[in-house]
Amino acid sequence: MAQPPVSSESQEQRVTEFVNAYQSLRAEVGKIIVGHNEVVSQVLIGLFAGGHVLLEGVPGLGKTLLIKTLAESLELSFSRIQFTPDLMPGDIIGTNIIVEDAQGRKHFQFQRGPIFGHILLADEVNRATPKTQSALLEGMQEGAVTVSGASHPLPAPFFVLATQNPIEMEGTYPLPEAQLDRFLFKLRVRYPALEELTEIIDRTTHVRSVEVRRVLTGPQVLSMRELVREIPIASHVRDLASFLVLATHPQWERAPEPARRFIRYGASPRGAQALVLGAKVRALSEGRFNVSVEDLRAMALPALRHRLILNFEGEAAGVDVDDLVGQIVEAAETMSGAGKEVFLR
C-alpha cells in the first residue's frame, strides 16, 4: 500500500514525539513507582501496542499502584473492579434497568458498567468466577460489549490491566487459556532490590506530596498506536518471530527438545502478533525506525510466557516457563539462521 509522500523530517518528528511522550510517561510513573523499570516499560509497550496486560505478583509489590499512577498520567477515564467470587457479569458490563421518563412512561435503559472506561483495572482477576471473567472477553478482543442483543462500543483507547496473585490460590479461579491469550503481555512483578526497597520506604513514610501530571490524551495514544504499525520489520526478523512461536509447539517437526518435553500446547498466532507489535513499540521507544532481533528477544518473555501450557512432565518437574522461553528463543535463532557461522553457508 503506497503512502502519500511525507518528508523524512516529519517522520522523524513523529518518532521524536513518540519517544518524548514515552519518556515523559515513564517519568510520571517513576515519580510514584520505585524500580520495576522493566515492568513499567512493558506496561507502556502494552498500552501503545493496543493490547492488554496481566500483572502477576505477590501482594504489596505495587501492581495496583502502578496502574493507578499510569491512569493518572493519562487524560483517560479509569475504572477499577475488585474481582470477588460473588461478582456477576452484569456488575462489569452493566445492565438494563427500568427508568421512568418525564411523561411517566417506563422503559429499559442500559446502565453502563465499569468496563466502559479507557483504562480498566481488574484487580485480582482470578478471584471471580469464570463466568464473570468471561465478561471481559468480548470487550478485550472486540472493543465492544453486547447486552440484550445490543452492541455497545467501548471507548478508545481501551486498556485492561489485570492483576493476579500467584500464591493464595485457594478460592481462586485460574484464568482459562482463552482469557489468558487475550492479554498481550503477562508481566511478573518481582520483589524490589535493596536500594529500591529503601527508596520505597523513604517515599512512603515521609511527608511528601507528589503530583502526577497528565502527559497524554486519548487521541495522542491512538495516534501513537497508528505510528507503531507503520514501523517496518525486516523479513529475517519477522521470520524469527514465526520461528519463535512455532518452536513453542511440541508437534512441530523442528521444535526444540525442551518444547517437545515440557509443553502441551504452544503459543497461538496472537503470540506472534504480540511479539511483533511489542517489538515495534520497543524500537520506537528507542528512537529507531525498524524492528531488530534484540526487540523480539526482549519481547519474547512477556508475550509468550502465558501462552505456553506445560504438560504433566513440565508441571511435575517444576519447569520455569521463563527458562523454557529462553531456551526456545535460542533454538529459534539457530533455526532462523542467525547463528555465528552464517557467513560460511
Binding site: 503506497a2 503512502q3 518518532v15 525486516a234 524492528v291
Partner: protein
C-alpha cells in the same frame, strides 16, 4: 527518497570481507586435503621419479586453490551480507531493513526516515574488518601431512613390494608334467613333485564309490554340516582338486545347485514313507491358522506324494487312497480347495486304517486278545494278519465289556463274593451333575483305606495342578473347563 548507495557500498564491502574469509576458510580446508593427497605421489617416488615432486606440489596447490575458489564463489545473498553488516557494526538491523523496504511498494512513510537514518549511520562508519576470521578444524592438522610430505621428499625412495601370484593355469601344469626335465633344479617344481607323491587321495575321475566313512567325516551328521550331504554320494570320498576345479568345475557345486536331488540326512528314515506323508499332512492341517488358508502349492505337493504312494502300494481296492488323492488334485486344479481338503482327509483316513492294520497284534487295541484272535483266525485259515478282522469282531461301542458284544470273555455280573469279606472293596457310584452323563465312583470298605488308595489321593494334587495348567494353556476346550474344574472339586470333597 535518497538512493541507498551508501548502504549498498557498505553491504558490498561487507560482502567482500565475507568472501575473503570464506576463501581463507575453505582454502585452509583444501590445503589440508591437498597435502594429504600430495603424500601419495611422494610415496610412489620410486616408480614416478622426479614427477612425484611435481605431482605433490600440484596437488597441494590445487587443493588450496580449489578451496579458496570455492569460498569465493559460494553464493552470498545481499540480505545476508546486510544482516552481517548490521551485526558487525551494531546497527540493530537498520541496514537490512532499509535495503529490503526501500524498494517495496507497500512501504510506509517512516521507511524513508529509516533509509535516511541508516544512510547517515553508514556514512559515519569507518572502514574496518567486521567479519572475524574462522579457522576450520582441518587447519590444526595441516602441519601433519606437510611434515610427512617433507620427510618423504627428503628420504630415499621407498621400495615397493614385488610379488607375483602363483600360476594355477592348467596348461602350464600340464606342460611341466610333460617336460619335467626342462626345469631341472627348479625348487618350485621339485616341491610340487614331492607334494604329488605324498598325496594319497585318489582323483575324482579314477575313484570308485567308497561307502566306508572317511576319517573324521563319519558318525552322526550334525545340523548345518554341509559335508554330510555328500556323504552318501560318490563325491563323498573325493579330495578337493583345485586344478580340476579350474578346468571343469566341481561336482559338489553342481549338486548343491539342484538341492532336490540331495538326500535329506537329517530326517529319520526309520519311519515309513506313508507315516511321513501322514505326519506332513497332519502338520499341514495342525499348523493351520483358521484365518489363513492352506497354501495350494503345499496341498498339491502333498496330494501328489500321497497319490504316488498309493500307486506304489498298488491295488484298486477300497483301502487304496490313490484315487482320493487324485480326486483331490483335480479339485485343486479346479480351484476347489475345500473339496481337495476333504479328499485329502479321506485319503488320510484310509492311510491310517492301513497303518493300523499293518501293526496287527502289536497295536494298542489288542494286546494278548488281538494275538489270540489272530491265532484263531489263523486256525480258520484265513491267512490274513489281523487287521481287517478287528473291526468286524468288535463294532463300535462294543468290545471286551462283560456281557456285551460277541466277546466270549468269561466276565459277567458281580459275584456274591464281593463284600463277603471285610477286605473286599466295593465301588459306589452316583450320577454327576453336568453336561455329560457321568458317574462319580468311590471305593468303600477297607480297601478305601489301603495304601494304594492313599497314593491315588496323593496324586490328585498333581493332576489338579496339571489340569489348571492345561486350562491356562487352553488345551481344554472352553465349554468343558467348568465341568473339568467341578470334577476336581468333587474329588476334593470326597
Amino acid at each position: 527518497m535518497p538512493g541507498p548507495t551508501v548502504i549498498e557500498r557498505l553491504v558490498a564491502d561487507v560482502a567482500r570481507q565475507i568472501r575473503l574469509r570464506r576463501a581463507e576458510f575453505y582454502g585452509l580446508r583444501g590445503l589440508f586435503w591437498g597435502a594429504v593427497a600430495a603424500v601419495v605421489p611422494l610415496l610412489l617416488k620410486e616408480p614416478l621419479g622426479p614427477w612425484s615432486y611435481a605431482g605433490a606440489a600440484i596437488l597441494l596447490l590445487a587443493g588450496a586453490g580449489a578451496g579458496a575458489l570455492w569460498g569465493v564463489l559460494l553464493r552470498l545473498p545481499v540480505a545476508e551480507a546486510a544482516r552481517l553488516a548490521d551485526r558487525g557494526y551494531a546497527l540493530q538491523d537498520r541496514i537490512s531493513t532499509a535495503l529490503e523496504w526501500a524498494e517495496r511498494p507497500d512501504r510506509t512513510p517512516i521507511v524513508e526516515a529509516l533509509v535516511v537514518d541508516a544512510t547517515a549511520r553508514a556514512e559515519q562508519l569507518g572502514a574496518r574488518r567486521i567479519i572475524s576470521r574462522r579457522m576450520p578444524r582441518e587447519a590444526k592438522l595441516v602441519p601433519i601431512p606437510l611434515l610427512l610430505g617433507l620427510v618423504l621428499a627428503a628420504a630415499p625412495p621407498i621400495p615397493l613390494p614385488q610379488g607375483r601370484l602363483p600360476n594355477f593355469s592348467v596348461s602350464r601344469d600340464e606342460d611341466e608334467e610333460k617336460a619335467p626335465g626342462d626345469r631341472s633344479g627348479d625348487i618350485q617344481q621339485s616341491e610340487r613333485k614331492q607334494a604329488t607323491r605324498r598325496d594319497p587321495v585318489q582323483r575324482a575321475d579314477v575313484q570308485e564309490r567308497n561307502l566306508s566313512p572317511r576319517l573324521g567325516g563319519g558318525g552322526q551328521s550334525q545340523p548345518g554340516d554341509l559335508a554330510a550331504v555328500f556323504k552318501d554320494t560318490s563325491l563323498g570320498g573325493r579330495a578337493p582338486d583345485f586344478n580340476s576345479f579350474l578346468k571343469k568345475g566341481d561336482e559338489r557345486l553342481r549338486m548343491l545347485d539342484s538341492l532336490d536331488r540331495l538326500p535329506d540326512l537329517q530326517s529319520d528314515f526309520t519311519q515309513s514313507q506313508t507315516r511321513m506323508v501322514f505326519q506332513k499332512a497332519k502338520a499341514l492341517r495342525g499348523g493351520l491358522d483358521p484365518n489363513k488358508k492352506v497354501s495350494p502349492e503345499k496341498l498339491r505337493e502333498l496330494l501328489s506324494e500321497m497319490e504316488r504312494l498309493g500307486r506304489k502300494n498298488g491295488g484298486q481296492g477300497q483301502g487304496n487312497w490313490s484315487g482320493d488323492a487324485y480326486e483331490g488334485m483335480e479339485a485343486l486344479e479346479g480351484g476347489q480347495s475345500d473339496r481337495a481338503m476333504e479328499a485329502m482327509e479321506r485319503a488320510l483316513n484310509k492311510m491310517r486304517s492301513m497303518e493300523e492294520r499293518g501293526r496287527d497284534g502289536k497295536s494298542l487295541k489288542g494286546g494278548r486278545e488281538s494275538e489270540r484272535r489272530g491265532g484263531r483266525r489263523g486256525d480258520k485259515g484265513s491267512g490274513q494278519q489281523g487287521g481287517p478282522g478287528d473291526e468286524g469282531d468288535f463294532p463300535e461301542g462294543e468290545g471286551l465289556l462283560p456281557g456285551r458284544g460277541k466277546s466270549g470273555a468269561p466276565k459277567g455280573d458281580a459275584t456274591a463274593r464281593l463284600r463277603g469279606s471285610p477286605f473286599d472293596v466295593g465301588v459306589e457310584g452316583e450320577a454327576r451333575a453336568g453336561r455329560k452323563q457321568g458317574i462319580d465312583t468311590n471305593m468303600v470298605g477297607r480297601g478305601a483305606q489301603m495304601p494304594s488308595r492313599m497314593q491315588y489321593m496323593g496324586v490328585l494334587g498333581q493332576y489338579r495342578k496339571m489340569m489348571e495348567e492345561s486350562i491356562a494353556r487352553e488345551q481344554v476346550p472352553r465349554d468343558f473347563q467348568t465341568q473339568v474344574k467341578e470334577y476336581f472339586q468333587s474329588l476334593d470333597e470326597k
